[in-house]
Amino acid sequence: MKRLLLSLLFLLPLAAAADGGAEDEARLTVKPLLCIVDERTPSCNLRFLITWWAHETGYYCVNSDLDSAALRCWDEARTGRHEDDREVSGSFRYWLNRGDDQAELASATVEVLRKDGDDRRRRRRTKYVWDLL
């Protein structure tokens, strides 16, 4: 039983990596990718570092779900780097495209993890001797 659990735990990151490797025309990385909120602190003020890389030199733009216009575009470039200061209270994506061409070449999702959902029961404590978390 312990072996099964360990095997599954070790396989999960590999599965995630394999999924992310499908996008090879261009790559986009964003740091950080997680924001934790609760009722006391309902949003995160973060500076996102966005870096991208493409196979071919060209015209590329970085966009986000939260903006109607591109955040920044580069001409005759294969790589780029951009910092984006933002207050975040919900999950959203950054993505890379070729300007007018809306096809996404690569994307990254910033996730917001709520520590206090609507259901109070999810935060209740059990009182078992072995419960230390």
Binding site: K2, P32, R40, K127, W130, D131, L132, L133
Partner: protein, 260 residues
């Protein structure tokens, strides 16, 4: 149980969906809870499974079963059933032979000291939950329904969460009033269990106090570092028992957790 867990793991993609009523997680690391009983081993904790289901009314939370009958902006109220796990302490005790009696007198021959056996108890009760910017509050009242100890317990927990970057800290403290019947069943020594080295003892009602600090560092939505430490002070009636050597019960755990 051994069959249930692999089945649940195979169904993970379904559970991963947003708003899933399921909460599944596993943490692996190392921790211990000290055993306050005489001649007893501490409890090692290497795996902590989190298996919970929260429906509109019915819920299951790692062994607790509940039926929610009120849920509004201020409070969530449920009727509950659970198993009291104090018996775990009694399953890790050893027998020892001594030459000195309970009052310091020399004994003619080595006399056995064995912590008496105790059972798990099924309990039913009610639970009230409330929360806000001020933190969260959990109130429980449980009574034995299995005829094991025939006692009851009132329990209060208050905690508050603090975010610091990708850390989430949650200090909490709690009080538990334990009735005389409950206290005496677990911590008392019946005349039939007593001998020259282990005197009979009757425990009255008392209040346990505890504080806990848990800290989680989130590497991602799923992966986290779990750190936790807890101090519980047994009530004087329990601590005065001849089978109890430590009034403090200490617990800690450090490990990595995966939330599905």
């Amino acid at each position: 149980m051994k069959r249930l867990i692999p089945c649940l793991l195979l169904l993970l993609p379904a559970f991963a969906a947003a708003e899933s009523p399921w909460r599944l997680g596993v943490a692996m690391g190392y921790g211990e809870r000290s055993n306050p009983l005489l001649n007893s081993d501490d409890l090692p904790i290497v795996v902590d499974l989190d298996i919970a289901y929260f429906g509109k009314h019915f819920f299951f939370d790692n062994g607790d079963v509940g039926l929610t009958f009120a849920d509004n902006d201020r409070v969530t109220a449920s009727v509950m059933a659970r198993v009291r796990s104090d018996r775990v302490f009694f399953g890790r005790s050893n027998t020892r032979f001594v030459n000195i009696g309970s009052t310091g007198q020399s004994l003619e021959s080595p006399t056995e000291i064995t912590v008496p056996d105790r059972d798990y108890a099924a309990e039913a009760g009610v639970e009230l939950l409330s929360d806000g910017r001020w933190g969260y509050l959990q109130l429980n009242a449980f009574h034995d329904i299995s005829g094991t100890h025939n006692g009851y317990e009132f329990d209060l927990d208050y905690g508050v969460g603090f975010r610091a970057g990708l850390w989430y800290l949650r200090p909490s403290f709690g009080l538990s009033y334990k009735s005389a019947a409950l206290n005496d069943y677990y911590w008392g020594v019946r005349p039939s269990e007593a001998n020259e080295a282990l005197p009979a003892y009757e425990a009255g009602a008392g209040v346990n106090t505890r504080v806990r600090l848990s800290a989680n560092y989130f590497f991602s939505r799923n992966w986290q570092l779990n750190l936790s430490a807890e101090y519980e002070r047994l009530n004087d009636e329990a601590a005065g028992s001849p089978i109890v050597t430590d009034q403090a019960v200490l617990g800690y755990f450090a490990g990595f957790g995966y939330r599905f």
